[in-house]
Chain length 288, copies 2
């Protein structure tokens, strides 16, 4: 992959991820000029004072007119409308990517919206935080993290290579998969854990909220992501509903079998299941 | 609570928690002399070379003969037998506590075994790690962590005060509750999260183990405790089976309601549940 310096990187609707893309791009010299657009005028004013921001535009269209690369950092339900809005203003040959957690619909509609004069290659960096807002962005957020890119069969190879090179430059480990395969993977390794953490917290809140004051490190870690933004997750779960329901059903079946084993004092089965979980967890790659 | 310096602290069967008790007691000057006993001769040899170990005994009885305070650090299924074994060798007026994660049976049988010449007050520090072994012990492990103590109605007040003072001296925040109440609390805030993490990992292992290589921080944190020792957890789940099944049933009901909401596209209910989880998690005390 060739690391190019983009003449102008434009970031639309930066939140935690967009703010991190800007900082990382500046740190690693991925762009000569970084331009942003945010919906709220107060955010635009604050963004104009950031060292990693060279220009702020008042409209998405103005923001992309000179861009060689555009990163759509909006919540998943706002990504396709934004791409459709900027499409006529995109320069010929420009590249568009995003950071959305669901990729099927976005990849197909995004590519269709910008064709044929520009190229869309969806992306999903497996990095984040329970915090929101570009103020919390970090240049190192993508370091050694997986970043999925989800080209279509018909995506131009040079566009795929350029988007892969960009995310690699920010420190991510790029993995290319088909959009639907991506959605199936993250339903299991990201969306299901979120659903579990949120529901565990909701169950504990119903039982006795003051018990949380006794929490050890196990409960803290297991539930950290439950503090994530509910509206962001609503959009993600809505867009990836079928896959999430599939993954959830498998987890429920696993839990039901465990419950049966424990209820029947079948401790051999209990231990076997604990051992399966342990073996899986112990083979995680070292934390970035 | 008055912090006394114990003439001799004896720690039986030290693992991660016992090794941490010894280091913390040395750091905070809680004991003049620290004596340990471990089952394996090789462990006794290695323990004798630790700076926080003043003496190693070859039998549990020998280890406690001069003790003013004994900490039983064995796995939960070994605690009562050890207390019964050392009871005749305990000096008059000596104190015995433990670190077991389940407290009902241990508190009752422990107190009965050492009475009337000695006093047992069960304890459960809400601290630990997915690691095991006294080699991984840390003097700071209990700092600002909850430590439950579970006296019985008939436990001598001076014994309760002394055990509370000891755990406070190690840095813990001591919370006294009845043994059965303790078991109900930890079934929810410790044992249920363990069951969930293990089963999530088991479900993901069944689906496609290689996906773990893409894991972001969410999956890492949510599943960290799944790497815990399976046999230790088998004993805990066995001793606290009824309470764990109760907590698990409530979680399953919560999850089933969420599944129904998502399946029926009732996104108001989905968001409400996510918000409930978020509100609960956001009010955790700051991490120690």
């Amino acid at each position: 992959m060739t690391a190019t310096i983009h003449p102008q990187l434009t970031i639309l609707a930066p939140g935690l991820l967009g703010g991190s893309v800007a900082r990382a791009a500046r740190l690693h010299g991925a762009a000569q000029r970084i331009v942003v657009w945010a919906r709220r005028p107060a955010s635009r004013l604050a963004l104009s004072q950031q060292p990693w921001c060279d220009g702020v535009a008042n409209t998405p269209e103005d923001a992309v007119r000179q861009a060689s690369l555009v990163v759509i950092a909006a919540p998943v339900d706002k990504i396709v409308p934004l791409i459709q809005q900027i499409a006529p203003a995109l320069p010929p040959g420009s590249l568009v990517t995003d950071v959305g957690s669901v990729k099927g619909e976005i990849s197909r509609l995004g590519a269709a919206a910008v064709a044929p004069h520009a190229h869309f290659v969806g992306a999903h960096p497996m990095a984040g935080s329970e915090k929101t807002g570009w103020e919390h962005g970090m240049a190192e957020l993508f370091q050694k993290r997986t970043c999925f890119i989800t080209p279509l069969a018909e995506t131009a190879p040079h566009a795929i290579a350029a988007i892969a090179a960009f995310w690699s430059q920010l420190g991510a480990q790029v993995v290319a998969v088909a959009p639907d395969e991506h959605d199936r993977i993250v339903a299991h390794i990201s969306h299901l854990p979120q659903v579990i953490a949120s529901n565990l917290c909701a169950a504990l809140a119903r039982e006795n909220p003051t018990w949380r004051n006794f929490a050890g490190g196990g409960l803290r870690d297991t539930t950290r992501i439950a503090a994530s933004d509910a509206q962001l997750w609503r959009s993600i779960l809505e867009q990836n509903r079928d896959e999430v329901l599939g993954a959830l059903g498998k987890f429920q079946a696993e839990l039901a079998a465990f419950q049966t084993a424990l209820a029947h004092r079948d401790y051999a089965a209990v231990v076997a299941q604990l051992e399966r979980g342990k073996a899986y967890r112990e083979q995680f790659l070292p934390a970035p």
